[in-house]
């Protein structure tokens, strides 16, 4: 017998289940998975999801900006980078390539990120109001490294895609994409560590800064 069969057999006998392979129980497990019941969650004491998202993002150490439309985003990004005296060249998600970046004075490259990239600009599949979290899905036009390697991560969030909780985020993913992509990353503020004397330090291996631009 293989290690797999041995382990599964030990599990079954430990649990006192009859036979070697699950029959009816596996159907029951499948039925539960298909049903996907939602568990209880804290009372959401807010009604304006966008305001909640922005407030929680700032609490996580991100900075937040708000513009009227996607077309205004490059200008807003340029303003942010200048105000922080950060470089005006950036790596961006290919899916954002059509925006007027050059007109805003930004030099962008649409690809996955390299170690030398200092600013990374991504969109977001959606965002979660409860915790101020961005949900990023990997894909050929949305490479995961852009939100990870550069010291500064700028994320563009469509305000119509801010959902109340993580449960709604999963539901949206399944409705629009079916199966999950290679990587789903929920990002909540700049990377941090508290491994030395429990002192929180912003900027561990990932970005030092997360700037969120909400549009729409």
């Amino acid at each position: 017998m293989s290690a797999r069969d041995n382990i599964l057999a030990r599990v079954r006998s430990g649990l006192g289940l009859p036979g070697n392979v699950p029959g009816a129980e596996r159907d029951k497990a499948r039925a539960y998975i298909a049903e996907q019941p939602r568990g209880p969650r804290p009372t959401y004491g807010w009604s304006d999801g966008v305001a909640r998202f922005c407030e929680r993002s700032e609490k996580l150490g991100s900075s937040v900006d708000r513009v009227g439309s996607l077309a205004e985003v490059p200008q807003a990004v340029a303003r942010y980078l200048q105000s922080k005296t950060l470089p005006t060249s950036a790596v961006i998600w290919p899916v954002l390539n059509a925006l007027p970046w050059a007109a805003a004075g930004l030099a962008v490259q649409a690809r996955s990120a390299q170690d030398s990239d200092l600013v990374g600009i991504t969109g977001a599949f959606c965002a979660v109001a409860e915790t101020g979290t961005l949900m990023l899905l990997s894909g050929k036009d949305t490479p995961a490294t852009v939100s990870l390697l550069p010291e500064t991560h700028i994320a563009l969030v469509d305000v119509t895609r801010i959902v109340p909780g993580m449960e709604e985020a999963w539901a949206l993913m399944k409705a629009e994409q079916g199966a999950p992509p290679r990587a789903v990353n929920f990002v909540s503020g700049p990377s941090r560590t508290a491994d030395i004397e429990q002192t929180i330090v912003i900027g561990a291996h990932g970005p030092y800064r997360v700037h969120v631009v909400c549009y729409g």
């Binding site: 290690a3 797999r4 382990i7 599964l8 030990r10 599990v11 430990g14 649990l15 006192g16 289940l17 699950p22 596996r26 029951k28 497990a29 998975i33 996907q36 939602r38 568990g39 209880p40 969650r41 804290p42 009372t43 929680r56 690809r111 170690d115 409860e130 990997s138 894909g139 050929k140 490479p143 995961a144 490294t145 990870l148 909780g165 993580m166 999963w170 199966a179 999950p180 992509p181 290679r182 990587a183 990353n185 929920f186 990002v187 909540s188 503020g189 700049p190 990377s191 941090r192 560590t193 508290a194 491994d195 030395i196 004397e197 429990q198 900027g203 561990a204 291996h205 990932g206 970005p207």
Partner: protein
Amino acid sequence: MLLTSSSFKRNVRRKLEDPSLQRNMKRFGGRFVEARAAVMTEVDNLEEIRVAAAAIRDRSLANLDSYLMEFEAQAQARGTQVHWAETAQDVNRILIEIARSNGVRKIVKSKSMVSEESGLNDAVAAAGMQAIETDLGEYILQLAEEPPSHIIAPAIHKSVEEVAQLFSEKHHTPRQTDIPALCREAREQLRPHFLSADMGISGGNFLIAETGSVVIVTNEGNGRMVTTLPRIHVAITGIEKVLPTLNDFSTVVRLLTRSATGQSITNYVSMLTGPRREGDQDGPEQSHIILVDSGRSRLLGTELQQALRCIRCGACMNHCPVYQNIGGHAYGWVYPGPIGAVLTPSYVGLENALDLPQASTLCGACQVVCPVKIPLPELMRVLREKSFQQGLRPWHERWSIFLWRTAASHPRLYAGLTRLAVRLLRRLGGKDRLLHRLPGLDGWTEGRDMPAPSGQTFRELYRKRQS
């Protein structure tokens, strides 16, 4: 990891007499406790969610084989290779086979407690490969050649001065004691390794049966690096970590991060499903997962099954007065604190960790904070009972219990003996009515005096009151 749980008492003595550890544990003190308490005020229905989270974990365990098979089928359908390890040694063997057959030389690791169980880093080094820990705490410990002392804050026992000294010696850099500067130094040391490694190893906080995914819950970003940059990703985790659905995960993670570090959510929650897809510019070309039994299945069907609900938040150790005083190393294996006192004897054999279930006052703090309601004191009591039944307790303890039982089941004898004892003790108490030493129990009187009894037994006093 080297098992030293059998010398627990000696370990404890050493730790209590170690001034720098004592200083560091004092500083550790209540920080996690306060952070947890503060963030829990966001959750108005904490008890309701705890009950739900415990039920979710119970559901997974009650049909563990079904959910594992479901997980396996989904993972394979998305291109993940699923391996099964019966023992800790099997974990090392499987990992090294994957590495060898792919010409791997350098491995970067994010935190995996299961890989500590098997001493993976040593095995990998013996096979001629390099494994580099990248979680800051684990990286510090790898340099210091020490095991972790906490499941989520592994270097909690080290001070900034110790880290500064270590970095300057190992990196050949000027000594600096500024914590952010030390973190940047580690980042700069590790970044090239992320970019040049052939393989990334991660743990897995959860497995999702619905999608065949592994989820990791992290703050530093190193977990994302090791699962994204190298061409091979291997996740190693216990078979008990499976959750049926993404919605179940959403419920459980609300409690996990709050209980662990006092965060509403950690910086990164990453769900990984298979290798890079057609057209993807990043992500590993191969995705593997090693499902580890190594003693876990033995707990199923016993009272100790409840311990498998554990989601490794660390709250039980943060709140444990014993852990707060002795730190994690004294427990002598991978999992310290109350959950370690239950898991270590269960995984490595009760006879090898006999004193761990005794290392508790049964104050109950751990059970009160456990997000999945594991009755830890009760489970420690079960293990105590077992160790007595199996004749594993030392002879003097067994004899004392035998004598006490004999006396207690003969009321006259009991009355006579206690009458004698209280008079004797009163005598020994002298004028200040305090016993400075109790023969055979000097451990107890070492740090305190025992008040001498009044000279009369409870029964005598009771009878007097009645008449």
